[in-house]
């Protein structure tokens, strides 16, 4: 029984539809044969790989033949597949070979083809690729077999089973259909009979290892698909490599070794994945950016990269094979783009971007010298989280007003015996000295099953986060902890030290800790060593139970610092490193925010100081709420200090208080975030025209550059939600009809929700450019940006009036002749006042 059809999919017969046909065919005893009459190839429909190998393209004439004892039923299924399923197999998938782009692509980057990934630590960087390799799975595979071919085949079967289990597990965790479809295709490659037969065939014919046989099959099918002239099929070669690579890793284990690589200057590190220690071993001196094939946004390596201000893009699959070592690379970790050998257009685009970032940085650094306060002058300390003297130095340089938490674990790592009391005293004194007249909160040892320290043997635990860690192990390591506390106390004679205990769960624990401190003080007192007997003692709030003991705790301690990373994790009982439950981990959840309010209200009722030292403190969207909640201090990563200080300056505290009232009665974190976004958009007052958005010496030499420069000007001033979307909206208008109006003036404009406030930006060009080649030489460009959500009616009137004025020569001349931004603004304001 046969059915003839014309192949209906634009992408050709690729792995996903082939996998579905294979599934169906394997349900029956009958043979199901696929024949491509156009190119003459034939395949068993019971093998995905065989089907894909027919290299069938859109429009090819095809024939499916069913033969066997159950052919009647099989044929009905096959026919239904051809008529109903196959034509729609790609409907729900993103367009062929291009990952879906959520954000528009800036015009100047349109002709480039960067690699794409997920930006996880923001920033831009230019440098040379430094490949950091954990060895290629196939190269290290043993070539000869350990035993006979049956033993090797058994290894293959076990490995396939294990990989299948892994894929099934990630399948269960995914909800988006395209992702699932791809995983399913991988699964069917993994279980493909032809692939299996080929590998076993090699094993039988030659005395080679199963690894070598898998490598042979990977090469064979990889080459076959690479030869296809269909880009989609070519990419499927990567799927084969992916799946076969996983099989080999399952057999021989992964051979990720430590990194012994010295980076040259301006290095862009390219790697499969990095552990935190591998990342640290790279050294921050020459490292400009990190590009990873794998690694989650909340992995510790990424958190480290963020803390050090190293831009990072992850999820760049096959980064190591696409980016040659030593190649010139530009990393855009704002958009998740990686450019190899960037061309002039790309360079010019990033010249504008780098310049904008530099200007933003210099504005921020001015503010960092001033005391931290809100727009209305309310003081809030901005401190920094530190784990080394270098961190303290960076923090102080960025204007930190204290060290909100100094993590002392670093003193105990990488050594066989713990540091002596004298050594610790010297170290803490150095930290206090570096901080000068700013207070430093020294946190006592916070280690446990998840953070092993060689000199302190601790048992491996099932569930280290709920186990024997931090102060819970102090009773068994009294000498060690006492020497740490004495070291801190001795240092307190030389600077503003505060002592903080991590992971407190009960008041009783605090009483014991205080007793311990008293004992240490007595010991020092008895031998006549100076210390500050009024050294403030505080605790971290990481355990939800503490929220309900606040009144009692306030009587015992001088201050609190909320560790939101752990508190959130314990609050919702969800490990944020586990992608299947990490959606539950959300410090923006109103329930969590209500918890924070509880802490602050109790503490302030008793006159106690409350800081926050979790990552949340440095998240721009969280800052207005933390201000509204009434935190006394926000302690953030050293590199963020000046930025948070700058953000704080723009926040009106009455507005923050109202916002906070609203978010506390919200139902979902999404609602909280939405309210915050509206607040951030509307809290600052802007003028329609302003000297800050006038550039009388614009450098751009093309229309695209000038538009980008103007958009960057608006972005720098905080007037845009998303610069790329605004640029795109301007271009959409330009594409329908260029906005040059003759007389050397162009008036590009847009109306989009990505604009926060109605704005008129002005650029005078050093050299006139053609706005609508070959005509329209332009030397003055007026960019009008209007928010899309209404509320701009009064501005529209002004802009209409301005547009009318531009028709008159006297007005144009006054604008052209204006020699300073102030003058330009006053000419434009004349319009504003008239209307």
């Amino acid at each position: 029984m046969q059915i003839a059809f014309t192949f209906p999919l634009k992408a050709g017969l690729h792995a996903r539809p082939a996998a579905r046909l294979q599934d169906l065919a394997n349900r029956y005893l009958s043979t199901v044969t696929f024949r491509n009459k156009t190119n003459g190839s034939t395949a068993s429909a019971k093998s995905t790989l065989a089907l894909v190998s027919t290299l069938t393209r859109f429009g090819d004439q095809c024939l499916l033949t069913v033969e066997g004892e159950d052919q009647g039923r099989a044929f009905i299924d096959v026919r239904d597949f051809v008529t109903d399923v196959l034509p729609h197999a790609d409907d729900e998938l993103p367009p062929v070979s291009f990952p879906a782009r959520e954000r528009p692509f800036p015009r100047m980057l349109r002709d480039s083809s960067p690699l794409q990934g997920v930006p996880v630590s923001p920033g831009l960087a230019m440098g040379r690729a430094a490949a950091v390799r954990t060895t290629d799975v196939f190269t290290d595979v043993p070539k000869s077999a350990d035993g006979n071919w049956e033993d090797e085949e058994a290894k293959l079967v076990r490995a396939i089973g294990k990989v299948a289990e892994d894929i099934e597990r990630s399948l269960a965790a995914r909800s988006r259909r395209p992702e699932k479809a791809i995983l399913q295709a991988h699964l069917s490659i993994l279980r493909d009979k032809e692939l299996h037969d080929r590998i076993v065939g090699t094993l039988r014919a030659q005395p080679v290892s199963v690894g070598a046989a898998v490598a042979e099959a990977a090469t064979y099918y990889g080459d076959l698909l690479s030869k296809s002239d269909n880009a989609y099929l070519q990419e499927r070669a990567v799927d084969i490599r992916d799946v076969t690579g996983r099989i080999v890793t399952a057999i021989y284990g992964s051979s990720g070794g430590t990194i012994k690589k010295t980076l040259g200057s301006d290095a862009i590190c390219i790697a499969e994945n990095l552990t935190p220690s591998e990342f640290l071993s790279l050294g921050a001196n020459h490292l400009r950016a990190v590009v990873l094939a794998h690694g989650g946004a909340t992995s510790h390596t990424v958190i480290l990269a963020r803390a050090q201000g190293v831009p990072c893009v992850t999820g760049v699959r096959n980064a190591l094979s696409y980016i040659p070592d030593g190649e010139e690379v530009l990393v855009d970790a704002e958009r998740g783009l990686i450019f190899l050998r960037p061309d002039t257009e790309v360079r010019n685009f990033y010249k504008i971007e780098f310049a904008r970032q530099e200007k933003a940085a210099s504005r921020v650094s001015l503010i960092s010298r001033e005391p931290a306060c809100t727009a209305e002058g309310k003081r809030i300390e901005i401190g920094a989280n530190a784990s080394s003297i270098e961190d303290v130095r960076v923090a102080m340089r960025n204007g930190a007003e204290g060290i909100g938490v100094f993590r002392t674990e670093i003193l105990f790592l990488d050594r066989a015996t713990p540091p002596s009391e004298d050594e610790q005293t010297k170290f803490y004194t150095g930290i206090l000295n570096e901080a000068g007249d700013k207070p430093v909160i020294l946190r006592t040892l916070d280690i446990g099953g998840d953070k092993p320290v060689p000199s302190i043997p601790l048992p491996q635990e099932e569930n280290p986060f709920l186990g024997y860690r931090a102060i819970r192990m102090y009773a068994d390591h009294s000498d060690l902890i006492d020497s740490q506390i004495r070291g801190m106390l001795r240092a307190s004679a030389t600077g503003l030290a505060r002592i903080m205990f991590p992971m407190v769960s009960t008041v009783t624990e605090v009483m014991r800790l205080k007793e311990r401190v008293r004992r240490c003080m007595d010991e020092l007192h008895n031998i006549g060593i100076p210390f500050n007997s009024r050294t403030p003692i505080g605790i971290m709030i990481e355990v939800p139970g503490v929220l309900f003991q606040m009144d009692r705790l306030c009587a015992e301690v001088d201050f609190f610092s909320v560790g939101t990373n752990d508190l959130t994790q314990y609050f919702f009982a969800a490990d944020r490193g586990n992608e299947r439950v990490s959606n539950l981990y959300n410090p923006f959840h109103p329930a969590f925010l209500r918890g924070l309010r509880m802490i602050i209200e109790s503490a302030h009722r008793h006159g106690r100081w409350v800081g926050i030292c979790g990552e949340m403190a440095g998240v721009p969207a969280a800052v207005p709420v933390l201000v509204g909640l009434g935190f006394d201090e926000l302690s953030v990563s050293p590199v963020l200090v000046s930025h948070v200080k700058a953000d704080l300056r723009t926040l009106p505290d009455t507005g923050c208080a109202t916002l906070t009232k609203d978010v506390l009665v919200s139902d979902t974190p999404e609602e909280v975030q939405a309210r915050i976004q509206v607040f951030l958009r509307t809290s600052r007052q802007f003028d329609l025209v302003d000297v800050d958005i006038v550039d009388l010496a614009a450098q751009g030499s093309t229309k695209a550059e000038i538009i980008r420069e103007l958009v960057a000007l608006l972005q720098l001033d905080g007037r845009l939600e998303n610069a790329d979307e605004v640029e795109e909206a301007v271009w959409r208008r330009e594409d329908t009809y260029a906005t040059g109006m003759g007389n050397g003036i162009a008036m590009p404009h847009c109306k989009t929700s990505s604009v926060r406030v109605a704005s008129i930006a002005v650029a005078k060009l050093s050299t006139p450019i053609l706005w609508n080649p070959p005509e329209d030489p332009v030397s003055l460009v007026i960019l009008v940006a209007i928010p899309g959500d209404g509320g701009a009616e009064s501005h529209l009137n002004i802009i209409a009036h301005l547009a009318r004025n531009l028709v008159h020569e006297e007005f144009r001349e006054a604008l052209m002749k204006a020699v300073s931004p102030e003058k330009v603004v006053s000419v434009l304001r004349g319009t504003v006042d008239e209307s």
Binding site: G740, A800, R804, V807
Partner: protein
Amino acid sequence: MKLVAVTACPTGIAHTYMAAEQLEKTAKRLGHTIKVETQGSMGIENALTDEDIKGASCVILAADIVVRDMDRFAGIPIVEASVQEVIKYPEALFQRLPH
């Protein structure tokens, strides 16, 4: 000559009004009377009344999008132009008007 005109452009933020102003300015210089309706982001402004349209010798449509309420101009000669053309070369447009 008594003229009426409508201007309209895709976003209706700027060029609709530039074109209107240019038409008014040029008409005045050439000794015509003109009333220009703008169909822009603020809706229809300076709307042409039946009175305005009656007795007009010509309707100028300076538009890059569809103009609303075309019925009212039935029986009157229409001269069409792009907004851009009106802004940049207003004289050329006026030369195209029926005499």
